[in-house]
Structure formats: C-alpha cells, structure tokens
Symmetry: none
DNA sequence: GTGTAACCGAGACGGTACGTCCAGTCTTAAG
DNA sequence: CTTAAGACTGGACGTACCGTCTCGGTTACAC
C-alpha cells in the first residue's frame, strides 16, 4: 500500500500562468532564438528553478504554450459544405491569416525553429493547425463522397499544404496567399 | 575603368577551405544547434577573427557550405523519360536517400534550423535540392506534354513535396519513403 | 533599524579565498602585466563571472590582496627606542628586505604598475608599508622629543623615503640598501 | 673593399616623425594603458610593421619620445643664485607645473606605468626632469659652498624629491605643490 | 498545534560561447 | 629593400545564459 500523498504546498498555478504568459509574450516579441530561460523568469517574476522544476527545456515550454493556444489559435476547423476544394480553401485562408499579421512570417519561422529543437513542438505544430484532425477528417469525408481518390494519401496531403507554407516562409518570399490557395485547388481539381 | 585592387595580403584560400571543411564536418557530427564559431575555429586551426572577417554569422557559413555542396549533394537532377510521374519519383527517391542515411533526419532538421535563422540558407535550401531549377523544368515540360494542367502551380508543387518531407521530419515520424512517393503519385495521377 | 539581508544564496567564502589566493600566487610568479582575469579564474577553479561579480577590475583584486597582506607583509612597525634615526632605519631595513628577495624589484614594480592603474592600490600601498600610520607616528614622537623640527613635513618625509626606493627600482639600479639608509640618516641628522 | 651602399630606400624620417608624433599625441590623450601599436600605426598613417621594424616594444617608443622631449619638456634647469634651497625650489616648481596641467596627474602616472614596463623609460624619467644632471650638479655645488653636508647622498636626495611627487600622485591625493616644496625646504634647512 | 517536506523568489556558482580588440608575424603590390 | 595595408593565429576581454545549487521564507498535509 503506497501513500500517494505528500506534504507541502502543491504546484502554484499563479507561477505556471505567469511563466507561460511570459513565454508567449517574449516568443512573440523576440522570436525563439532570443528566448531565454532567464528572460522568462525575470519577465514572469519567478525563480529560474521554478521553471526547471516543471519543464525540462525551452522547447517543452513552447510546446505547452502551443498546445494551449497561447502562441497561435487552436481552433482551425474545416467546414463541411460538400464542396471539398472550397472547404479546404476556407481552412487554408484561416491558417494563412496568421502569416498576414505584421510579424507573421517571423512567428512561423520561430515555431519551426522550436520544432527543429524539440520533438514535442514538431508533433504539436501540425495538430495545432488542425492538419491531422480536422483537415484529415474532411479529406476522408471527401473520399467517402467520391471527390477524392480512394487511395489518396490523406496525411501526406496535409503535410504538403503545411509544408508548402513553411518552405515559402523559409525562403522569405513575399507573402502570397494565392499561391498556396492555387496549390490546394490543384490538389482537389479533377 | 579603375583598378579595384589594393596592396596588402590577400584572402587566404587555405583558411577559407579549412573553415568551410570544419563547418561541414561539425555540422554533420553535432548538428546546427551545437555548432559554435569557436568550435569551428579550433577544428579548422584558425583564429576566430578570420571567421568573423569573412562571414557575418553562423548562418552565412552554413549557407556557403550548402551552396558549394559541402553539406548535401547539389546535383539532384530530374530525368526526362516522358513519364512525368516516374521521373519525379526518381528525383524524389534521390532526395529521400539523404534521409535514409543514419543521421539523415537530424541533418534535415539542422538545415531547417539554419534556414529559420538565416535568410540565405532558406533560399539556398530548395535550390540545392533542385526543386526550382530541375524539378520546375521537368514540370513545365510535363505541361507542354499535356501531362499536367496548363495552370498547374509549378513552384508551389515543388514546395509542397519538399515541405511534406520537412513536416514529416519535424514530427519525428518514422521515416517512410513510400508516403511521400505516394503523395507524388497522387499529384500527377490523372 | 531595518533588516539589510535578502534571501538567496550568500557569497561563497571558498570562492573568494580561492580567487585571492590565485591572484596573489600569479602576481608573484608572473607580475602584474601578465596577470589576467581568465588566468586567475582558471587557477582558482572558478568562473570568470564570479570574479566580475565581486571585483570591478584587476586593480581592485590587487588592492584587496594588498590590504589583506597577501602580497607583502602588513606589519611594518617602527620601534621606539628614543633614537629617531635608528628607529626609522630599523623600519627601513625591514621594508628593504622585500626588495632583497629574488624577485623583489619586479614585485615592487608590479605593485607600482597596479597603483598607476587603480586608485585603491595607490592608496593602500603606503598604508601597507606602514608609511602613514607607523612611520608618521614615530616622526611625530620625534618632534615631541625635540629630535625633529616643529614644522617637519611628516607625511612628505614618509613619501620621500618610499618614493626614493620606488624611483631607484624604476631605474633598475643595482639594489643598494645602503643608499636609502644614507638618505634616512641624512634626513634625521642634525 | 666593402660597398657600404645598398639598394632600396633608407629609413623614412617622415615615418619616424609621424610615429613619434602620433605616439606622443595618443599618450597624452588616452594614457599609457590605452596606447596600442595598432592605434599608433593608424594615427600615423603607417604600417604596423614599420613600427615593429624600428622599435622592439611600446615602452621603447615611449622612451624615445621621452628622450626627445615629446612628452614633457627636457630643459628643467636648476638656477645658481647662491641660495641652495631657493634654487632647488625654483626647479621643483617648474617640475610641479606639469602636474598642475589639467591631466597632469594622469600624465605622470602614465609615465610611471611605462617605466614599470620598460627599463629604458625608467632610466630616462629622472634624466628628463634633470634630477641627476642639473639637480645633482646644483647639490654638489651646495656641498662645495658648505651649504650641504660633505657626505649628503646627492643622488638619493634627487630620487627622494621625485619619489615624493610620484607617491603622492599614486595615492591620488589632491595636488598640493606646497607639500613637496616644504619637503625641499626641510631637506636644506640647517 | 506542530513538524516537515515540497514549494517559492532570488540569485551565486562553475562553465561555455559570444563578438571585439590587439599582439606580433607574415604577405602582397608599389615605389 | 622599405613602405602602407592588412590578413593571419592566438589570447584575453567583459557579457550573456546555461543548468545546478543554496538560501530564507511560505504553505499545507501528517502526525
């Protein structure tokens, strides 16, 4: 028989909140590469150890912020009107809206930088944007509706769209929403 | 026409070579985030200042290595047999071969990390893999041959394929060449 | 009366001790101009920042070593036997003994070098040798005893003796204790 | 029969002049510790090698400037009116005038710093101020005139006066010409 | 109630790397 | 053969953060 309880105070939600808040704020203002644990601790009014106690790394912090929608929204749903191409396009435009913000490109690159460093961020990135869950469901519905080939590689298509956006951003090309939209139309044109 | 030359010693090719060599070696062995200017200088047997004299940043160094094919090959040609899907697939497999090397995934993520930090690397990354030049040409030939729609977004398709590979790697999914190959087949199946 | 303390870790006496020890050791072995903060840190097994946290400069470090008698002794007392000239001579010989050590001249020049760079060292230098406190007192006693003129410039006389030693050392003249002793005798001969 | 001539240009007096000029200028403006060979070369419009070719060290440069009166005047003569104390005092005031200049104290300390590093500067320093030549002669004349004891340690007295000035400056005491003057009067009062 | 164990803020610690400055040597082209 | 220019290796600078540790103080459960 083990005693699961222990004495002492529990984790402070105020500290947790302050840390994640500070992380998100600094991530937006300075980008991932200038983000430091010390900076977060000072900004949050928290001791460094409190951060190290609960998160193993800078990347894990970003991962948690990402999962809670503190960096980018998390409700990228895909409508279902019956028009596959149009539905995907609607979702795509909501994703691209992030990039049209003033520092949108830098924000995406920072997220990618975090993802290269931390496996969790990489996994969360697609999820956050609804690539797997929402987009995947919609595409599978499209297959059922006969609008997409039976053997269409659903997961790969999602990655392709997201990846095209990322590659474009890495190349620092002038933002061109229409480019990616045309890609989507091409994908579902038959 | 004036004489642009000045007197005095000239840039040492030996030092340049040693620096780029050391950079490529360390990049492969340790990845981008553990790559330090001091480490490169020591490995190359060179003073730090010699690096700072000629390259403004770590990213610029990687960019130059990339452009000279010191990190990954630069001759990713796309054959032209008349079979569009097959030709693209051949190119794709040669690109994916990089990832099948022991540390292939980490190598790609390191390249992406460098690209998030340095604009030049981002621009060179696609070029190095022949996405724009070779793949683009082949796709345009496909359009001429009637195998691809007149208005197919050539550049976007290239980015989509490369992007799918990157996103997969960021997610640390088990390497699955067939996935991306199926994406390519889907793209050109008609 | 407020509590001046704050929470958190307290200054490490072990580090302080190691740093001052290393400073004194290196100062003796290499002289002031070859003394580096990095060398001290390595010798003391300490991070550079720990030195910069507590001392603003190399000179301040030397000043503290000097004040604590880690570079030269600090107990240069002047006896009082009634014989002014003899008493001063006794003190003088104990000071000159430093110069008769193997690297005595270099040591004095190093101290002077530190004093040119750091005001604190300059002030401590005379104090350390007892010029102001002990020698000054003895001279004032000499005035009371009628062995020295009422208006003898006590402080200046101390500086003159110390200064003669320094100037001789700066000129790299062969060490000649008797020269300075003769100066002292001349000063108090009447 | 040897041919004393050799081909090529001889040592450029213009370069020599420019270097010593620049050295003196920078020495006055920045002090000895901030004086760098590179700075001198740039200020003089000269290659670094030209400096290293003719002077072995920074100290040697200062020594030569000092010897040529480029740092402080070199004509500190001692008058001979018959009044020993008054004559010495006249000389002393002309020396002290240097210290009353705006950056006089710093200048003296810089000279001392150079002297701690370079034997030549140390030897030249006293000479420059006329301590040995002029003051020594005057004191010896004083002995002949019966104003000074037969066995007065002439050289030591000179060093004592100069040394008192130096020690005072090292201690960053408020400049007080009268102090040293009182010392001189005390020395020759009988 | 009183321990006492885990929390918290603060920040000192040994380290690594940064990007800069300068030392002293070497290399080039011009005179 | 000297010169101006400046690239080279190398060492030290003073700063920023890393991740660990050590404090004094504060909960809040277990006795």
């Amino acid at each position: 028989m083990v005693n699961e309880h222990r004495s002492g105070p529990v984790r402070s939600t105020a500290a947790r909140e302050a840390i994640l808040d500070a992380t998100a704020r600094l991530f937006h203002n300075q980008g991932y590469d200038r983000l430091t644990i010390e900076g977060i601790a000072k900004e949050a009014g928290v001791g460094k150890q409190t951060i190290y106690r609960w998160w193993p790394s800078r990347g894990a912090l970003i991962g948690e912020c990402l999962a809670e929608g503190r960096l980018i929204p998390v409700d990228f749903v895909v409508p279902y009107t019956g028009d596959l191409s149009g539905d995907v396009e609607a979702w795509l435009r909501s994703v691209l809206a992030i990039l049209d913000e003033p520092q949108g490109g830098a924000l995406l690159r920072s997220l990618v930088a975090a993802a290269t460093e931390d496996a969790g961020v990489g996994q969360h990135l697609g999820e956050s944007l609804g690539v797997e869950e929402h987009l995947g469901s919609r595409l599978r519905a499209g297959i059922r509706d006969g609008q997409l080939a039976e053997d269409a590689p659903v997961a790969q298509i999602g990655r392709a769209i997201l990846g095209a956006i990322i590659v474009e951003s890495l190349g620092r090309e002038k933002r061109d929403s229409e480019g990616v939209v045309r890609l989507a139309r091409f994908l579902f044109a038959r």
